[in-house]
Symmetry: none
Subunit: 211 residues, 4 copies
DNA sequence: CATGAATGAGCTTTCATTCAT
DNA sequence: GATGAATGAAAGCTCATTCAT
């Protein structure tokens, strides 16, 4: 008389609990007991559904990436121009307002720190960032192309925006009062447009740009 | 015939050991024992010179801020124009090459994560960032003024560059291979110059800028 | 098929072990390790069942109070007159012979010392003494009333007997050979009866008694 | 060039500091460092003047006994009758008002607890109590003799009063609000007088007293 | 005599993980 | 699937005592 499996549900409960714990405690101090308590489960159950604590973290990383992509997809639905698509991409990650998830942002900051230490976590973290980078590069290339500009600098600019994004997460988690409320999305767009506009037309080398 | 105090020396030994440990382990896992071992001291001695682990961290934060300012002072010595001064400020934090301290960068990332959790650490972290912000704003205002541009956007731009800086630290610690080697200082300068050049002349409102 | 909870049993095991340790070591030196060892448990288990050491102590205080009341109930079962009830009350606490628990007495002395230091312990300690005082006052009032004497002095006399009781515990723990073997119960009764007999009949003021 | 020895002064400084610490912390938690700090001395100096912590405690015990005897001597100076001398003895230990030293009382309670544990402390503690008992017995015998009563019960009564005294110390340290303010000296005298008055004249056996 | 750094054992507490039920 | 007790290895911190100066 097999009961119907609920592993998927349990796993996401646990991942959500880790998200909440990690956002305020950091990973090292997010104890399995606390995760279980927050998820409303018995402690032992956590290790039934996950091999160890790291595995929960890895799933959380994947989950956060999925959420960001989903928010972007929603925002991008109405976009028609490359610039609108870029805007959607940035807003999905950086805009305040509905859909913003401060806990997720704080958790991501903690994950970034943990990525330095745990090789497996580092791999997962970089895999996510790599996809972000690729997508962002694509957006930027489209914008540049739409303006008949050279696209060679797109990867570099994407890396710059990614760094800005990570730093904005950091500041919004740990130093919210130091930066203007909700400035991140606008600032990112500003950086992007300024650099795009300054790019020379396609076909010509971009020598003087090597700042 | 009292033994002569050596607390200052011991304290900096211990702070240096915490820096090294935190860079690879994070704060929570940088055990006092490991710190002592790395500093070549008996475990108990750490708590003779510091009330608790947090106090070491607070001193480390202050110490890192001092180091950054010192590096900047050295670089800024030869600067004559506002733009060179800005360059010195950014290079002191972001340039690779001599004076770059990957351990310090990684430690700072860990501190940023810890700042979310420990209120006292958060305060110290924000105090440092606040000073950075003020100094950077000053550099930007000088650059804008030198070009006869409105300076109103300087604080916002400074916040943007600070976020980029923090994010660049993060990426260089946890995802070095995703970003071009040593691109951070150049990218920051590019963001800054593009935005500065795009500012309208002083005296005219900057309406269309509210990106 | 959950394992059935045994917390109640474990907790009383641990409390009993603390009683034994505290009686010879005092609270500060009754280490959790030693408690666990004496209870035959793994060290970590103590903190699974109790938040911290203080919580064990608080439960021990409650437990000792329960034991005293139980012994008294047994002795008072056969009592018919108020004086016999008083005797039962005093014997339950002070008599040597069967039911006497030197360890509990020594533990209570240590608890009294600890009550000076730990506010929460002080509260629990005073709560128990307060109940003792109320019960004893009741016994004394009944005795006085049975002899048609004024009962106004009952609270004061009860406080005096309570002090004697605490002191007798102290001496029997730390200076047994200085006091006659098993004299405490008799001495307390003697104090009580002498004072009761000396009280003036009810209805008349007891002025000359204000010693 | 020998400096003039100040050992005696230093020792009493240290003893006084232990008194203050022990009164609020208990002996086990009165750290040598804290004692030194309170005495305004360097930590190492404590072990120059005392072999170890226990030795300080032993001297404190002796010191407290001396203080009690000194206060008694002052009060007894004006006493002419045995009863006045008894009063002086009890007041010296139990009266509130000038000369009362709550810290000393609390310290004595802590010492009583420690006496259970440390054999050497126990010996010193009992030695003091033994002298107290002898002196008190003497007072009581004198009172009884002055009234032409049998003195055989004096030791027993003295033990009872001593127990009351120790218990009054305990209550005044840990449960001050449970007992009437400043009732101890009066209560002790009341116990004493009631029992003295109830004693039969000398020369006749005291059978009915075997309560 | 005096200083204060140094030592290392021992303390309470936390926690990932295991496992009997 | 689920429970919650159990384990034992750390962790941070305290402290009596020693000792070079």
């Amino acid at each position: 008389m097999p009961r119907k499996p609920n592993t998927a549900e349990r796993r996401s409960q646990i991942v959500a609990a880790l998200l909440a714990e990690i956002a305020v405690q950091g990973y090292a101090r997010a104890s399995v007991q606390a995760i279980a308590r927050r998820a409303g489960l018995a402690p032992g159950l956590v290790h039934y559904h996950f091999r160890d604590k790291e595995e929960i973290l890895l799933e959380l990383i994947a989950s956060l990436a999925r959420v960001a992509r989903a928010r972007e997809a929603a925002l991008a639905a109405a976009a028609t121009t490359p610039q609108e698509r870029l805007q959607a991409w940035l807003d999905a990650r950086l805009a305040s307002g509905p859909g913003a998830a401060p806990d997720a942002v704080a958790a991501w900051v903690m994950i970034g720190a943990e990525a330095v230490r745990q090789p497996e976590v580092g791999r997962a973290y970089r895999a996510v960032l790599n996809e972000e980078l690729a997508a962002l590069t694509g957006c930027l290339q489209a914008c540049l192309a739409a303006r008949a500009k050279a696209t060679a600098q797109a990867p570099r600019l994407a890396a710059g925006l990614l760094a800005f994004m990570e730093g904005a997460f950091q500041l919004s988690s740990a130093a919210r009062e130091l930066v203007p409320e909700g400035f991140a999305a606008g600032m990112a767009m500003q950086f992007a447009l300024r650099c795009i506009d300054a790019e020379p037309p396609a076909g010509r080398p971009a020598r003087e740009d090597a700042v």
